[in-house]
């Protein structure tokens, strides 16, 4: 179970096999999806499943022709990136304030933020829909950005708060003794030391915003629809859509997988809310 430097080669092999089987089991559905994307519709419904076939790019071409893929990618990129930046701009000062100048109310605020995660999204749908409609913001990227930012805000403040709390107070005190103003403090102490926390929080929210489907489907459609909307549009009970659905899904998840691959270390750190390091 625990690793020790002088493990026997056989145990190493057993462990490797065990770990890879677990990974393969979890990864298999995605592999299946990726393979299907290159089949024709006829091959896709073959039982037993085909694993050797001549791959075709037809599905990708058709997805692009049917609905402008790049349009949805652009919407996804804009909404997730802008909402993440906006979220960090609002959450970081709040977390800073709660971590370094805690008051009696700090805990209440944290609990209150958690309580916003207790309302089912559907309960907030009508009021938000009406607000967006009244403001003439239905089906705009702006309304999606606002909603994504707000729905991620509690988790962002929470994560940043626990990261900031790990920064030793002495360092801040010392910089204050040296006469550092608020800006200096932020620029020379908080930013460098809190960078890890900011990065992992940002990454996590980027992934969450990218995957958001409920609000994207309800507030956006033709104009502001994200990749989740694109995938949702591929539904057919008849089952002759699977290859195209797979292609569309693969196209929707490819950017986030590539992105996640390069940043998995920060992402994992972010997922632990900084509680464990």
């Amino acid at each position: 179970m625990q690793s020790s430097p002088n493990s026997k080669p056989t145990t190493l092999i057993i462990r490797t096999i065990a770990a890879w089987s677990v990974a393969l089991l979890l990864f298999f559905p995605l592999l299946f999806l990726a393979v299907t994307a290159f089949k024709t519709e006829g091959q896709a419904i073959a039982v037993p499943s085909l694993w050797v076939f001549t791959p075709t790019l037809e599905n990708f071409v058709e997805v692009q022709a049917r609905s402008n893929y790049l349009h949805y990618v652009w919407n996804s990129v804009v909404t997730s990136v802008v909402s993440t930046i906006l979220g960090l701009l609002i959450a970081a000062p709040a977390a800073y304030s709660m971590a370094f100048s805690p008051t009696k109310r700090t805990k209440d605020i944290l609990m209150w933020m958690l309580s916003t995660k207790m309302m089912p999204a559907v309960g907030a749908l009508a009021p938000i829909y009406v607000m967006a409609k009244t403001a003439g913001l239905l089906d705009t990227k702006f309304s999606l950005i606002v909603v994504f930012t707000m729905s991620n805000l509690p988790i962002m403040v929470w994560m940043l708060y626990s990261h900031f709390k790990d920064i030793p107070h002495e360092i801040l005190e010392a910089s204050r003794m040296d006469g550092a103003g608020l800006w200096d403090e932020f620029r020379y102490v908080l930013l460098p030391l809190g960078m890890g926390g900011l990065a992992s929080t940002g990454l996590l929210c980027l992934v969450l915003a990218w995957n958001e489907a409920f609000w994207a489907l309800n507030l956006g459609s033709a104009n502001a629809g994200t990749l989740a909307t694109l995938v949702a549009s591929y539904s057919s009970p008849e089952g002759l859509f699977w290859a195209k659905l797979s292609a569309a899904s693969l196209m929707a998840i490819a950017p986030i997988i590539v992105f996640g691959w390069f940043s998995q270390k920060q992402l994992v750190q972010g997922l632990t809310f900084g509680a464990v390091k």
Binding site: M1, Q2, S4, L12, R15, A19, A23, L26, F27, P29, L30, F32, L33, A44, P48, S49, A91, A94, S97, S101, L110, L114, S115, T116, K117, M118, M119, A121, V122, G123, L125, A126, M131, V146, V147, T149, M150, L153, V157, E170, M177, D178, L182, N211, A228, V231, G239, W242, S246, S249, I253, I257, G260, Q264, L267, L271, T272, F273, A275, V276
Partner: protein, 320 residues
């Protein structure tokens, strides 16, 4: 640390109060944002639940008190008729489905997550690659995984039935998502597949914090590995696990999108979120649905309070 130059006390007090003001100021944007987009819709929705508002007439609702929750009328014959969500069988069915789903999925996810974490915590070849690969199910949109699984679980063309038949586990094809007996199982399988990696990574991060010498010491003392797990590993991972479980629980109790895509019409998987949306939007019983989502909110709030109280969980991490 020693100050490099002396700051006069009055200057210091001035700086101090300036900082206090700045700290308050920093909180304002977040609080304003939350009030506008989180608190306002919440209260609005609670308000709707006490009116007879309909989807077509969102501003014309009249106050009806608790009628959407429970009302009764005594007939001349002496019989009393009860109406409202609290005597609605479909609602209690949804409550039961939600609780069942949340408890089973979160406990199995915690269990499997721990197992996977123990496997991944050991040394083996290609650790980084494996760790990245298992993160993927969590990182892709639920809508994609739900669609993908609904196809894999398809009764005619699905790979799951094919493999299970070949292995001799089942003798005839099962309509996983359509059958009342298996629909919940299908939802559980997909949710566990999707969320176990998340739990595993949280557990793994907890495991890696445990100093190696603790294990070496117990090895020298000849403590049985199972005992080591229950007496050392589990207590040390527990704080991280408790926080992970509550965040998962909040999501599981509100589950919507997976069921909406995978088994939209099965009464055995209708959860509180699903049924509330159905009433609000499809059945034109907007206020009634609002009452149901208010009840769900109350239910989750009570659960969180109990959990924190009973488990003595400190969510802000002050106990560190």
């Amino acid at each position: 640390m020693t100050p490099t130059h002396v700051v006069s006390p009055s200057d210091k007090a001035e700086l101090q109060s300036q900082r206090k003001r700045a700290a308050l100021l920093f909180l304002v944007p977040m609080l304003a944002a939350l009030v506008l987009v989180a608190a306002y819709p919440l209260f609005r929705s609670i308000y709707f639940s006490f009116t007879d508002t309909s989807l077509t007439n969102l501003y014309g609702g009249q106050w009806v008190g608790f009628d959407n929750y429970l009302s009764w009328r005594t007939l001349p014959s002496g019989r009393t008729i009860y109406r409202g969500t609290l005597v609605d069988q479909a609602w209690w069915n949804a409550v039961w489905n939600t609780v069942r789903f949340a408890v089973v999925s979160v406990s199995l996810e915690a269990f499997f997550g721990m197992m996977v974490a123990l496997v991944l915590n050991a040394e083996f070849k290609g650790r980084g690659l494996v760790r990245a690969a298992i993160l993927i199910p969590w990182a892709i949109p639920t809508i994609v995984s739900a669609k993908m699984w609904s196809w894999m679980l398809n009764d005619q063309f699905g790979i799951v039935n094919d493999v299970l038949m070949k292995l001799g586990i089942i003798s005839q094809k099962i309509a996983w998502t359509a059958n009342v007996d298996t629909a919940m199982l299908a939802v559980l399988i997909v949710d566990i597949w999707k969320t176990t990696p998340f739990m595993a990574l949280l557990c793994l991060a907890g495991l890696q914090m445990i100093p190696k010498d603790v294990y070496e010491a117990s090895k020298i003392d000849g403590v049985h590995p199972v005992k080591v797990f229950f007496k050392i590993t589990l207590p040390l991972v527990k704080p991280a696990l408790m926080v992970a479980i509550i965040f998962r629980m909040l999501d599981a109790l509100r589950i919507f999108d997976l069921i909406y895509v995978l088994t939209p019409n099965s009464s055995s998987t209708k959860t509180m979120s699903i049924i509330s949306r159905e009433n609000m939007i499809e059945f034109d019983k907007f206020a009634y649905g609002s009452a149901q989502s208010t009840l769900l909110f109350t239910f989750i709030a009570l659960f969180v309070i109990l959990y924190i109280w009973l488990g003595r969980v400190d969510l802000s991490g002050d106990s560190k």
